[in-house]
């Protein structure tokens, strides 16, 4: 919403400066988005009087002008065809910046004649598109006076961002009312006196339905005018409209626009000569259409309010009039419409039709329903003043919507809700100045004015009092300390997110944050793409399906980095993935990948590419980092099909899958244009069981053996298909009292090992508890291990 300072002052008797107005508006909740003063761009430009304009001796199209600038006479070479002796124009001296051309003027010689400045066209001053000649000011302009003044541009334009609840501030009068309530001046009453009609309107209003207070259009008011003269509106009106970005059209149209911005009262005028019979306010019929004032044809339906006569539809109620019955320069008879529409209906119709108009903008936020009556009077006064002619009596149809309501404001409510002590007298005075009818001395009963549909309860009254009294008076009170609680800020599952992030960051991966959505095709390849997870209105097909896995986004990111020459990316993300649209279908996953080189070329050893064990290491690091019981977990084949089938696995605790890891399926890597292997992992942060709720945080007692552990190595020959972990597990379980750990440390196949077999070497640690082990005891334990491994895997001890 834009307006000018002088316009505001027509509604507000005030001595306030522009800065005061600006600050008060913002602190009232009418945030000032910008203030522009066209005079600033025209500083230094003055009214110049052309003493003489003679033909340039060396150029047919140029004239040499002697210009009186008020402070001296200056020679200017001018190319405008309308430059002539005796005219007054806008003179820009040397050194001026010309906004329309972006050029700073310099004194120069043009074809041998000196030129010190310039006479400007509208376009050069960015005041319009006219570049056919220089600005031709009326003779009354004072030579040497500032250009901004002569052009009527010496008026700051203020733009505010009215919040959606403040429809009443989409008119200058409403803004002035808020400022007056805040003590910035006195509100002047609007000019809405009743004007008696001289004859009965030949056009009447009817409704197409029985109007009730809840009807789409409960009330419509009209008035007929005859003997009027349309044509361009007066300068002051054109200037006002232009200042706020509106294009002057004709006096009648300009009047409706003025009343819209001045009083937040959208109006429409029909060319009465083009109407057939009475006007009816009704809902459109299926199949009806209208050519609207914006030159476009709109298909209508019964959800849309229209204004029609006996021949057809001539307006979309509250949104836009029809082209056929619009007023022309030569129109002499018009019919004025002022109606109230239910805001919800206007919003729905406006959206459906896709029309953005000043009328819709206001009607859908809710205008003052009483303005049907006084708005018609305000328009009448302007039409008679500016177009002459005669007004009929007022006609109407329907009933006033039910806007009257009152709310109680408890005496202490402002204090208890905002912490501010507002004196009782101030509370009543503030509400009174805003137009509420207040009774009582606290508690008060406040009757809401017709222009404030947003006030629907006591809390709204508190806000009115508070914002006018001043949000800056709200005390700054730190929250009272709660007693220290045993409850952590984050619960066990929430804590796993930073733990996983920090574990992976410490392993050299870079954390990314990627979209929660991805292309359907990718989602399908990664086990997703269910209909319930497809966006109905995605902004792009790359972002149309909720992700079933984070990996495709990381793969894309890896490709992007490689294409920028950033090699061997190692990326991870901790975030949501979606199995279905229910709250439990969303899981938090730590996923990551490493591409190509795990160890690049270096001086200390061989280079090596990534493999499944890098991914396994990352996954295990996350699981260890979040405090999961990794010692009880086992890695087994069985990762989803986006992994390499032979080089991937699942980390399980019992039957539960904690993580998947492995080399990415080569097809997927190839499709992503990633050359070289990709090692990827996905850890499900909710999978490891929550820590047991224990009464005590004390750890079990640490029992340390006084005796040295013994390590023994065993090499087994087994079928290639036997997993090392099976051997290790069998060995580990061969004597649970004695064996504390076992791990595989060597793998060999080839010369000396039969085809189809492999050799796996394991190291087993025996921990005596009561005394040092004898050789015989160690031998006995070794025999148990060999037997257990043989039984579990068919392995034989390698000789």
């Amino acid at each position: 919403m834009k307006f000018t300072l002088s316009w505001l002052k027509e509604h507000l008797d005030t001595e306030a400066t522009l800065a005061e107005v600006r600050d008060h508006l913002t602190m009232l909740g009418l945030e000032v988005e910008g203030i522009t003063n066209p005079a600033e761009a025209l500083k230094g430009f003055v009214v110049g009087y052309v003493i003489e304009a003679i033909q340039h001796p060396n150029a047919d199209r140029l004239r040499v002008c002697k210009v009186d600038t008020g402070t001296g006479t200056i020679q200017v070479v001018c190319g405008a065809p309308n430059a002539r002796t005796g005219m007054k124009g806008i003179f820009a001296p040397s050194g001026s910046y010309i906004p329309g051309t972006g050029i700073t003027l310099k004194a120069s010689k043009i074809r041998g004649e000196e030129s010190n400045g310039m006479l400007c066209s509208s376009r050069e001053l960015r005041l319009g598109d006219d570049h056919s000649g220089i600005i031709d000011l009326p003779e009354s302009a004072t030579t040497g006076s500032p250009a901004a003044e002569a052009l009527g541009l010496d008026d700051a334009v203020i733009e505010i961002k009215a919040t959606p609840n403040r429809g009443d501030c989409l008119g200058v009068h409403g803004i002035a009312r808020d400022l007056a309530a805040a003590g910035l001046g006195t509100l002047k009453p609007p000019k809405v006196d009743k004007i008696k009609g001289g004859y009965a309107s030949p056009i009447k209003w009817t409704h197409g339905y029985e109007a009730t207070p809840d009807s789409p259009c409960p009330l419509v008011v009209g008035r007929h005018f005859r003997g009027i003269k349309n044509g361009p509106s007066p300068d002051w009106l054109q200037r006002r409209l232009k200042a706020v970005g509106l294009r002057p059209i004709s006096t009648l149209v300009d009047i409706t626009n003025l009343v819209t911005f001045d009083l937040n009262r959208p109006l429409h005028v029909f060319d009465a000569g083009k109407l057939s019979g009475d006007l009816v306010m009704r809902q459109a019929l299926d199949g009806e259409q209208i050519l609207a004032l914006d030159g476009k044809t709109y298909a209508l339906d019964p959800s849309i309010s229209v204004i029609a006569d006996s021949k057809g539809v001539h307006g979309i109620g509250g949104i836009m009039g029809g082209e056929d019955t619009g007023v022309q320069e030569d129109t002499t008879e018009v019919f004025l419409e002022a109606a109230y529409f239910q805001p919800i209906g206007i919003a729905a119709s406006g959206r459906k039709l896709g029309i953005l108009s000043d009328a819709r903008y206001r009607n859908e936020r809710g205008i003052d329903p009483e303005s049907c009556w006084w708005g018609a009077e305000a328009a009448t006064r302007l039409i008679l003043e500016l177009c002459g002619g005669e007004a009929s009596e007022i006609v109407s149809s329907g009933v006033m919507t039910a806007w009257q309501r009152s709310f109680e404001l408890r005496a202490d409510r402002v204090k208890t809700l905002t912490g501010i002590d507002v004196p009782a007298a101030d509370t009543a005075a503030i509400l009174g100045k805003l137009g509420f009818a207040v009774t009582g001395n606290g508690p008060w009963t406040a009757a809401v004015p017709s222009w404030r549909p947003d006030i629907v309860g006591e809390a709204d009254l508190v806000e009115e009092v508070t914002r006018v009294f001043g949000f800056d008076k709200i005390p700054t009170t730190s929250l009272p300390q709660l007693s220290p609680t045993s409850k952590p800020v984050r619960d066990w599952l929430q804590r796993r997110v930073p733990q996983a992030r920090r574990a992976l960051g410490a392993r050299g991966l870079n954390e990314a944050v990627t979209w929660s959505f991805m292309p359907l095709k990718q989602a399908e390849r990664f086990g997703g793409g269910g209909a319930d997870l497809r966006l109905l209105n995605s902004i792009a097909s790359e972002l149309d399906t909720m992700r079933p896995s984070i990996l495709p986004n990381l793969i894309d990111a890896a490709t992007r980095n490689e294409s920028r020459g950033l090699s061997d990316p190692a990326l991870f993300e901790v975030g949501p993935q979606y199995k279905d649209a229910t709250p439990t279908g969303q899981r938090t996953v730590a996923a990551g990948l490493r591409h190509n080189m795990a160890v690049p070329r270096n001086w200390a050893g061989p280079a090596r590419t990534v493999d499944a064990f890098d991914a396994k290491a990352d996954a295990m690091a996350v699981l260890a980092g979040i405090g999961a019981p990794v010692e009880n977990m086992s890695a087994q084949p069985g990762a989803p099909d986006w992994y390499h089938p032979g080089r991937s696995g699942a980390i399980k605790l019992g039957d539960r899958v904690m993580a998947h890891f492995g080399e990415l399926h080569p097809e997927i890597a190839a499709a992503a244009d990633l050359k070289g292997p990709v090692a990827a992992f996905e850890v499900f942060l909710d999978a490891p069981p929550p820590p047991k709720a224990k009464a005590s945080k004390a750890r079990p007692k640490l029992v340390l053996s006084a005796f040295q552990p013994v390590e023994r190595d065993f090499a087994f020959l087994v079928d290639t298909s036997v997993e090392a972990e099976k051997i290790v597990r069998a060995a580990r379980n061969a004597d649970k009292a004695l064996i504390v750990s076992a791990r595989a440390f060597d793998l060999y196949a080839g010369k000396g090992v039969p085809e189809g077999r492999k050799s796996i070497a394991i190291a087993v640690t025996l921990q005596p508890v009561e005394r040092t082990l004898t050789d015989a005891e160690i031998e006995a334990a070794s025999a148990k291990i060999v037997a257990a491994v043989a039984k579990a895997t068919g392995a034989v001890l390698r000789g």
């Binding site: 806000e463 709660l482 392993r507 050299g508 109905l536 995605s538 690049p600």
Partner: protein, 370 residues
Amino acid sequence: MDDLSTIKSAALDAVIAATDLGALEAVRVAVLGKKGSVTGLMKTLGAMAPEQRREFGAKVNELKGEVEAALEARKGTLSTSALATRLASEKVDISLPIRPEGQGVERGSLHPIGQVMDEVGAIFGEMGFTWADGPDIEDDWHNFTALNIPPNHPARQMQDTFYLPPRADGTPMVLRTHTSPVQARTMLSKDVQMRLADGGSLRIIVPGRTYRIDSDATHAPMFHQVEGLVIDRTTHMGHLKGCLVDFCRAFFEIDDLPLRFRPSYFPFTEPSAEVDIGCSWKDGELKIGAGDSWLEILGSGMVHPNVIRNCGLDPAIYQGFAFGMGIDRIAMLKYGIPDLRSFFDSDLRWLRHYGFSALESPSLTGGLGR
């Protein structure tokens, strides 16, 4: 006694002449070993008369002691120089780079969004808030209706909100447009209602992903918010102001950071306030802190009575405040990150430049920001 002095000088010369520990050992054997020259002298003692043996024995022992001392001294000297030689030969070029295992804290980085969430959690945690979360895919009741956003509100339109296919019962499903639905989910929980009925207080923050149809240089279809909610019987707007002043000063690490509360409008709060922080602009560069300008940073207000009622609580008894701010936005402001879209591009150069070390875990005691 020429024999003695000859043997002595020969032994001591040999000790001095030994240039390494091996040679020195050979000297020791040649002098003091089983067949050594001094040992040979000792062997002659047995055949001597007692008188002579005493006198000669003392001399031989003296000689043995002298030779032993010389050997020991020479051994010390030779050991020191042998160590020095070894150390010199073991010198490496320590300017060579470390082994590039690709797994080290030096290459890894954490994204600013997670880091700022941790910072926000640390500050509000200190004020007694706990962390709450909820699903990204919401039903329209939790995302809109419960929050006093009526069915015809513009925010519900397809051009602003991502919709998913409705549930089987017809319930429209959306990607949450703010973290506020977690307000409703939390207030509706039995635990919370019981705690409030017992006179307790609810204080939560809700950091998380949010979605809106908006995609240009300053908007992304996905962004991050942190919601705050306090509900009890006495919390008023002064507490809202105090809480946010405390937060902003702690977060931006500026003790005298000015805040401005402006009236505004949100369907779910009444009264509503937008909050600006002080700033100044110099040569196009933003500086946060007391200055001549204001920068909007968050929206807030007293929870609307309708929202409290929709969440199963009596607004005549309970009241409180709520606020919401953009994690990405405050991250940009604090760490001078110019472009929102770049947050989601995963460019390694960006991640390393704007990222954080994995070991920088924000806390009020250990420090919040780098």
